[in-house]
Assembly symmetry: C2
Homo-oligomer: 264 residues x 2
């Protein structure tokens, strides 16, 4: 049903859904695009609904699809992550560039790649997030940092744009001033402010975008990720959400490799 709703309007000559425009609107609607996607999901449903109702499928199925999308406030994350991934892949393979193109974690290791060092990974042991837990889960149930979703922070949203989403502190922990201070601090680690991603409470400054290995080394600060916490026992699913940082050594290794590449 979803496939038809996306493709039929395009086949009929309409523009595809503009995911970057939804991301830009989300940042003005209390989402940061990693752990808060409520506005983005509602806007996506708003865009899809008129096409959904005219697909070739039983109406009860269409109604179920609308209820499913409406009932999952992280629906947009499935669009936001690949948007970030595609944008960052476009920044790959720029000789000498110290900008990060990936941050990812597999539950034991945290890895980064830079635009100047191709597909080489620089890794260190994954930290365990600190935050708030669902139901009766506690810190002992949380696995070290895991998943691909830190691509959102690599793109400048998520933890980097927490100032846009002060309500998220009730989900990942911390205070509202912490959220504002985090975005302020991330400007010190990044190469640019994305003019397409304005954060109203920061006086409409763009999201802090393009993590720079050099700036991380110079400031001694680390990128701030807000993330879901997976259970330590396989099959448990999500046990909470919190805040986590990459291990410093990823950046130290990347800096050495970039310096070596510059000498060649």
């Amino acid at each position: 049903v979803l496939s038809q709703a996306v493709r039929n309007p395009i086949d009929a000559g309409a523009d595809p859904i503009d995911v970057k425009a939804i991301l830009a609107q989300m940042l003005q609607m209390g989402d940061e695009g990693h752990n808060r996607n409520r506005a983005g999901s509602a806007l996506t449903l708003r865009e899809l609904a008129p096409s959904l109702v005219v697909v070739d499928a039983p109406l009860s199925d269409v109604s179920d699809v609308l209820r499913f999308i409406g009932g999952n406030e992280h629906f947009f994350l499935n669009l936001g992550m690949p948007t970030a991934k595609l944008a960052l892949d476009a920044a790959r393979d720029v000789p000498g560039s110290t900008m990060l193109t990936v941050m990812a974690r597999n539950g034991t290791d945290f890895g980064i790649q830079t635009a100047g060092t191709g597909d080489r990974w620089f890794t260190g042991p994954a930290n365990t997030p600190e935050g708030l837990f669902l139901g009766d889960y506690g810190p002992e149930d949380a696995n070290p940092d895991i998943g691909d979703s830190a691509i959102t922070e690599t793109y400048g949203v998520g933890g980097f744009s927490m100032a846009a989403a002060p309500a998220i502190v009730r989900f990942v922990g911390g205070s509202v001033p912490d959220a504002l201070a985090t975005t302020e601090r991330m400007y010190q680690l990044t190469l640019a402010e994305n003019p397409a991603m304005a954060i109203p409470i920061m006086g409409f400054r763009g999201a802090p975008t393009g993590i720079d290995v050099l700036k991380v080394a110079r400031t001694g600060w680390l990128p701030q990720i807000n993330t879901g916490m997976a259970g330590r026992v396989a099959g448990t699913g999500q046990v909470g959400a919190g805040l986590v940082q990459p291990p410093q050594e990823c950046f130290e290794q990347a800096l050495v490799a970039l310096a070596e590449a510059a000498r060649v």
Copy 2:
């Protein structure tokens, strides 16, 4: 189509749409519920969509209805205003109460009523809003303050909750610090903070609610309304949006009447 979509689920035993819950969510999603209703409109569409698609109507009509709702970011205002009106009517006729139950304007006069003085109006000449204009319109095209929508401010949203909606300054004028300062100032004019309407950026303080004639008199400050501007020539429609305040004399008259009522 809309009528069926609202009534059919209730007839089938489902709960009606919880408009107050949507208002509470909006304030965490960059809306203030008077001139910014983008999140509220999308959330309302999200709630209605599954029921809309199974009404007894041609699917092309249903698709048009979804497109119409999705294309009007003020759709929710049609629900938010009566919500505020009903809540404030519940506060009527409390002897001795200095709380406002209405602020309304008809394009020439601005009027208020209080809980302690029944349906008696206290009026003064309507001011003209200052703000931003649509297209080629300018200040000379704007009519003095007009309409029922200041019921939203009387309820604690709109101008009173501008801190929740910093992006609105691009629509009504002013700066982000002004928006924060306005809500901060409105706490000085109101009797309570509505715990159901938390404003994240204010550290989750509730919306400043229940305008008190005494507090207006003591502080010398006036309620802040943000509003659409109607054209001075009948039939023009909206020419802009801006900020406006009631005339001081409404409050002076109300204070005298409340004092007289207390003497009886």
